[in-house]
Amino acid sequence: MISEGFATMKELWKAAVFGLVTFAAWHQSAAQTVHTNASLSTTFDLTAYVQESKDTNTGIFTVSSRKFTNADIIQTLAVDLGLDTNNLSGAALILQAHDVTTNYQLNFTIRSETALIDVSTNIEAIVSPNSPSVSSVRPAPYGRTTNSTDMTIMEFSMVTTNASFDVLGPVTFQSSSLVLGRNVIAKKPFTGTFSATVSGSGKIDGKDAVFKGTVRGFGRKITIETTP
């Protein structure tokens, strides 16, 4: 009986402690939200052909060519957004998806040593839902994860005071299920890498420009963020 009574007390304690922990967890979850975010490093490697002069009297028109890369994009975005460019040396341009399991929208963000700066009002990546696409989907054994390859047309558009462009071209996405550690967070494939060959028009320092080059995304990172 004693042992039975002791056992009963133990069960009661267990139940009490379990209840307390559950309540605390519930209380915390009610107050905090967990976000699963994904990010991709992005590299622009463009060549810009810029109309430098058009002298109709002499009949001489000149064009200069220059590289236009991440550093130029970050610089021109920083000027427009009034950011201290000294803090942006070594900054990266990333595509970020917030709440990736429910939201597939990717926004451009500058990641510096100290901050994440949303620049989606000035630069965006667009895959038109009306554009034809082709896919190859490869479910893994037992249907735990899925890999896919998708090809379509992707457009990148940037508007700032000193430079702007609107380029598009064929893109290949390599996607896979979201896995964190050994846990499958989302079976539906999400972009792991992409590579786009693009061209289009724009302006640099107020001068007409034609752009061509590549845009790549790689190095997918999954992070769990808890917010109040």
Binding site: Y49, V50, Q51, K54, T58, G59, I60, F61, T62, V63, S131, P132, S133, V134, S135, S136, V137, R138, S148, T149, M151, T152, I153, G169, P170, T197, S199, G200, S201, G202, D208, A209, V210, K212
Partner: protein, 221 residues
């Protein structure tokens, strides 16, 4: 009517007929370009694995100038022209201010305008590098976006675009300068885009080269 008057009337009629004939057989100064299209295709395939389940797969392929020419030759508008095996060329007709331009299929001496099915353009900004050249001629290079569209045919359609380089020179016919103002001599474009092949979505990547400009003088209506 005297014999002299009769002769005068006859001569007047002859002159009128000859001038009419001359008007009917006008001389056209045209430019002809070779066309080279080389595309890789990525077509949506469906691999059935059971009665109600299919895997999505991408089937790759290629097509070229000859395929485009035959697709157009088989299109409803030209099926009765028996143009299979014809050569796809680009023609600028009646060089000058009233010129027109179109893709043509040439079989023997027969040229057929196929612009209802195949057309190109330069959407967006073009920047130009230009300088006077020796002997009162002009050379220029245009950097821009080139777009090529194959409109709906039974075999499929596509719309591709990409960066292009256009080399322009004054126009000579042999040693004779017939247009000092620069005019496209070659177009080289790297393209990508979308389309449908056999009703299935298709992604295309490739190149188009329009080159080998030459002057052709043609008599015709």
């Amino acid at each position: 009517m005297t014999i002299t008057t009769k002769r005068a009337c006859l001569i007047a009629v002859l002159i009128a007929v000859l001038s009419q004939l001359h008007a009917l057989a006008a001389t056209h100064t045209n430019l002809i370009f070779n066309v080279s299209i080389s595309m890789s295709t990525f077509k949506q395939n469906y691999v059935p694995v059971s009665t109600n389940l299919a895997f999505l797969r991408i089937g790759s392929g290629t097509f070229g100038t000859r395929d485009v020419a035959d697709i157009i030759a088989d299109a409803p508008l030209f099926r009765t022209n028996h143009l299979r095996g014809a050569r796809l060329l680009f023609r600028v007709s009646d060089l000058g201010p009233n010129r027109t331009a179109q893709f043509i299929l040439r079989k023997g001496t027969n040229d057929v305008d196929v612009s209802p099915y195949l057309a190109f353009g330069f959407p967006g900004t073009v920047v130009t590098s230009k300088a006077p050249a020796p002997n009162n001629t002009t050379n220029a290079t245009d950097y821009g976006t080139f777009q090529l569209v194959l409109y709906s045919t039974p075999a499929g359609r596509f719309d591709v675009q990409g960066f292009s380089l256009v080399k322009n020179t004054s126009i000579f016919k042999g040693p004779e300068l017939i247009q000092r103002e620069e005019f496209p001599a070659s177009i080289v474009a790297t393209l990508g885009g979308t389309g449908y092949s056999g009703g299935y979505p298709t992604i295309l990547r490739g190149t188009v080269v329009i080159s080998g400009r030459r002057v052709e003088i043609k008599e015709g209506p």
